[in-house]
């Protein structure tokens, strides 16, 4: 068990990334009750946006100085794609039956993957992403790579900013009001269309930050990277209580740690030798989800979702 701190660190890093992506699912769901399955691809294009910024910067530009620009580039691309998707794919379907936008989201996800695959130079396979040169830092007995540190810092910082935005600003409160009851919010003079676009944009910005972290941590980005991660992040959002932003982050962390621990220790549990290791971690992650939903159907931090049938 002496590698426990390391496995916890692995799980937290993975979880921070899940959490950052899960914010996008939870915000959009909280406001328009749409599961935006294209969000994984919003994350993916953010990674390519950041990569593009890095590639066009002059050689010799240090990575540390490039990071803010890369984050910015990623955010710009992600937000542009997400708001365009909202405007042209989801808004026309807002009054359509719930399933129509859901299917649209899945279609959009495939379209975005194919567009990147087709038109981004050299994206037909995994594309190398810049990484910090430095060695791992030892913290409480765990080795943490610079890319991991980026994620461990970015996640809480982003959460604090988001918490402040949602609770303290006018737009943030408008957001809460729209989530509770869009019709009344509209009557109170809130521009709900603008609120919805903002929700998509914020989720996309968080996904872009996560994508930069993914690139730094894994040293590559690829056109398929959003699919599995998007699914995991969606799971995290449900686990934490979909509609609740803090729940999304908590759900991400719980899911990440559960996966790391399942990989590390499940095989040591007597009788479970065959069900441990990297190939079973997803099974355990979803088993955890089912158990949580059986005990607490509203998720860990369950949001009371206004019943609007």
């Amino acid at each position: 068990m002496h590698e426990l701190p390391q496995q916890l660190a692995n799980g937290l890093i993975l979880g921070a990334m899940y959490g950052l992506i899960a914010i996008g699912y939870t915000m959009v769901y909280g406001i328009v009750q749409l599961i935006n399955f294209a969000h994984g691809e919003i994350f993916m294009v953010g990674g390519f946006g950041a990569l593009t910024v890095y590639l066009i910067l002059p050689a010799g530009f240090s990575l540390g100085a490039a990071i803010p620009l890369m984050i910015l580039g990623g955010i710009v691309v992600s937000v542009a794609v997400a708001t365009a998707a909202e405007r042209f794919a989801y808004r026309p379907l807002r009054s359509a039956p719930r399933l129509a936008p859901l299917i649209t989201a899945i279609g959009l996800s495939i379209v975005l993957q194919q567009l990147v695959w087709q038109f981004y130079p050299d994206a037909k396979k995994d594309h190398p992403f810049p990484q910090f040169k430095g060695e791992a830092i030892s913290l409480f007995g765990a080795n943490i790579q610079p890319g991991g540190i980026f994620l461990l810092i970015a996640a809480p910082v982003s959460m604090i900013i988001l918490g402040f935005f949602v609770n303290k600003t006018r737009t943030g409160r408008g957001m809460q009001a729209t989530a509770q009851d869009p019709d009344t919010a509209k009557l109170m003079g809130i521009n709900t269309d603008r609120i919805i676009v903002t929700a998509f944009a914020i989720g996309a910005a968080f996904a872009a930050v996560a994508a930069v972290g993914y690139g730094l941590h894994n040293g590559q980005v690829g056109f398929r990277m959003g699919f599995i991660l998007g699914l995991k992040a969606f799971t995290a959002a449900v686990l934490g209580g979909i509609g609740n932003i803090y729940g999304a982050m908590l759900g991400g962390l719980v899911l990440g740690v559960a996966e790391a621990l399942a990989t590390g220790y499940m095989a040591d549990v007597p009788g479970m030798e065959l069900f441990g290791g990297g190939s079973w971690k997803d099974v355990w992650a979803f088993a955890l989800l089912i158990i949580v939903l059986l005990v607490r159907p509203q998720g860990l931090l369950g949001e009371r979702v206004a019943d609007r049938a």
């Binding site: 026309p92 040293g219 290791g277």
Partner: protein, 423 residues
């Protein structure tokens, strides 16, 4: 009577979603028809008095493994062009028809059906993945269409599931390969790691695919037979890129090396994260990681090992011409790990056609497919990778293997041997 454009905004808005939908549908339909029409013009059978003979090529030219797949496509094309230029078979014009299988078994099966339905196709080169081959073998066999894979190393593809217990049985009369089997490759890697690199403790990881799992199994078998110890086993998902939880386990297991059964898209990050964890041990893999892309995706590849089939193409006299021709043909992509094997596979079909035509008094026989299949056992020539011929299972008789190590940021050949596993 000019109608004012956008007079009143509403009709425009109302029709826009319809417009988008229509555009999408039209584009989709156009793409589909374009695909269909390209394959169906079978009318130009005689080209300048020559009979057109098509060699189907199936490999992943998109997706993760496209580096290897494009090398296969180009090398087969080069073989066909060389045969035409040298007029190897008088009266026959060779054409390749490359199809993309995306590394997916179901796509491979559709491609097989496409080849079968085109009567000009008399042989198929490919695919890259053993799992794809499993879905193509049966339909091609039913159609008596010869298939030669330059890369499939799954032992059971030729010898059946019973090969481990010595109960070898040929699976499909139409399946041949220029690559040696996983049994040979995994065992060769085990021998190299144990006897040349002097490593006794190995952590074994595979990606659960036909190729990866087969390689890992034959490695384990031979490594323990030689007295080595497998200190831990794990399986990963080939789509994962974060292996930190697994490498943490490797670190505490005391392994001196990791053997990975799988391909470079996952092996690259796995190897890097292994070293990132503060554990400076090499990762070894099979020909699936012997790619320049492995080095691009892995900033700490130095010291990693791989095995590949045949001698390094660059070191063989027979290959010098291939390399020069490949260069002068101006292909954009490198020939990669399977370039030489692919050329030999495609050339085997050329040779088989030559035999079939010669047996028919210099004329192209009407049932060329069956005649090509019948001629395969007689094919024997000096190819890019060495002497090429096929045994009673359709396996290559050339079991030459080479171990490579990353040195100075490039794969360097270390050791070659015609390997026979002791059973």
């Amino acid at each position: 009577m000019s109608r004012k454009p956008r007079q009143g905004k509403d009709p425009f808005v109302r029709h826009r979603s319809l417009l988008i939908l229509t555009t999408v549908l039209t584009t989709g339909a156009l793409t589909l028809t374009a695909c269909g029409s390209r394959d169906d013009k079978g009318g130009d059978g005689d080209k300048g008095g020559k009979t057109k003979v098509v060699i189907g090529v199936d490999s992943p030219t998109s997706g993760d493994l496209s580096a290897l797949g494009l090398g296969i496509r180009n090398s087969a094309d080069l073989a066909a062009k060389t045969a035409n230029k040298n007029n190897t078979v008088p009266g026959v014009e060779f054409v390749t028809q490359p199809l993309d299988d995306q590394g997916q078994p179901n796509v491979g099966q559709q491609n097989a059906a496409k080849f079968i339905s085109d009567k000009d196709v008399i042989g198929v080169v490919g695919p890259l993945n053993s799992s794809v081959s499993q879905s193509m073998q049966k339909p091609l066999n039913d159609a008596k269409l010869t298939q030669i894979s330059p890369a499939n190393t799954g032992t059971e593809l030729t010898q059946g599931d019973g090969w481990k217990t010595g109960d070898k049985k040929r699976q499909f009369a139409t399946f041949f390969r220029t690559a040696t089997t996983d049994q040979v490759q995994g065992a060769f890697a085990a021998k190299y790691l144990k006897e040349t690199a002097k490593i006794d403790q190995v952590y074994l990881i595979d990606d659960q695919k036909t190729y990866g799992a087969g390689l890992a199994a034959s490695f384990k078998d031979q490594f323990t037979k030689l007295g080595g110890k497998v200190v831990g086993t794990d399986h990963v998902n080939p789509d994962d890129r974060d292996f930190n939880a697994v490498v943490t386990k490797v670190k505490s297991s005391g392994a001196k090396a990791v053997y990975y059964g799988g391909e470079y898209p996952a092996a690259g990050p796995l190897s890097q994260q292994l070293k990132d964890s503060g554990n400076k041990i090499p990762l070894m893999g099979g020909d699936g990681i012997y790619s320049a892309d492995f080095l691009k995706l892995n900033k700490k590849a130095e010291g990693d090992l791989a095995t590949s089939v045949g001698k390094p193409v660059e070191s063989l006299d027979s290959a010098k011409k291939f390399i020069a021709d490949y260069k002068s043909a101006g292909y954009k992509e490198a020939y990669e790990a399977y370039g030489g094997g692919t050329y030999d596979a495609a050339w085997s079909i050329v040779e088989a056609v030559k035999i079939a035509v010669a047996d028919n008094g210099g004329k192209v026989p009407s049932d060329l497919r069956t005649k090509v299949l019948g001629a395969m056992s007689k094919v024997k020539f000096d190819g890019v990778t060495g002497p090429v011929s096929y045994d009673e299972f359709g396996d290559t008789t050339n079991t030459m293997m080479t171990a490579y190590q990353v040195e100075g940021g490039a794969w360097k050949p270390k050791f070659s041997e015609a390997y026979k596993p002791q059973s």
